[in-house]
Amino acid sequence: MFDPNITKFILFIIGSILVVIGAFCDLVASIGFLRFPNFFVRLHAATIGAIGGAVVPLIGVAFLALSADFLGTFRWYVAGASVMTAIFILLAAPTGSHALANAAHRAKVVPVMPKVCDHLEEDRGREGEK
């Protein structure tokens, strides 16, 4: 027959796997922040840190809270707020980093140091001559 304890165990396993994946992604992103040479390359590490390091463990926390019986009714609050925060970060983190990269490239505050050629800069220069 159907056993509610099995459901809670499965939710707990899924949530703990997601939290461990999130912690690993966070460590990888912070090492990448230290080792990457350039602002535009560090955007890659920032994306790993935002999506893999924040959204995935937040959804894992939601699963963990749903499986936790000892929390009482407050577990629904924790699960709902975690999913809300995860959806908000999923929308806001790429938007924010794209706006920052666009502004930094347009205002030329960041040097594009190891570069072969920069077609975006050439196109903008040609538009400025017109």
């Binding site: 809670k8 165990f9 707990f12 703990s16 939290v19 461990v20 999130g22 912690a23 690993f24 966070d26 460590l27 992103a29 912070s30 090492i31 922040f33 230290l34 602002f39 560090r42 955007l43 590490a45 920032a46 840190g49 935002a50 390091g53 924040a54 463990p57 937040l58 926390v61 963990l64 809270a65 499986s67 936790a68 019986d69 000892f70 929390l71 407050f74 609050y77 924790v78 707020a81 975690s82 809300m84 925060t85 908000f88 970060i89 806001a92 983190a93 938007t95 924010g96 980093s97 706006a99 920052l100 990269a101 666009n102 502004a103 930094a104 347009r106 205002a107 505050v109 960041v110």
Partner: protein, 94 residues
């Protein structure tokens, strides 16, 4: 062993990884060569701390840390947009 003990063991073993990540982000914030580097590191640090606060709310079994996580994510997004607008227009506007 009950599920509560497993949850405590899991969160207690994940917390040092998050703390090491926070320390490495802080190194990049302090020595970042340009301003956008620092802002990007603060960005990643803020989202990281939001997830960490939700984990702590499960660990301490208190509901008050969750609202803090949502507001922290909102402030980090606002910081990104403000810095981008300052670099584009050279003013913050209204």
């Amino acid at each position: 062993m009950s599920l509560e003990t497993y949850l405590d063991i899991l969160i207690f073993s994940v917390i040092p990884v998050f703390l090491v990540a926070v320390a490495l982000y802080c190194i990049r914030i302090i020595k970042g060569p340009t301003i956008p580097d620092m802002v990007l590191a603060v960005d990643a640090l803020g989202f990281d701390l939001a997830a960490f606060m939700c984990l702590l709310a499960l660990y301490f079994k208190s509901a008050f840390l969750i609202g803090g996580a949502i507001i922290l994510a909102l402030w980090v997004y606002a910081l990104d947009i403000f810095v981008a607008k300052y670099y584009l227009k050279r003013e913050l506007g209204d």
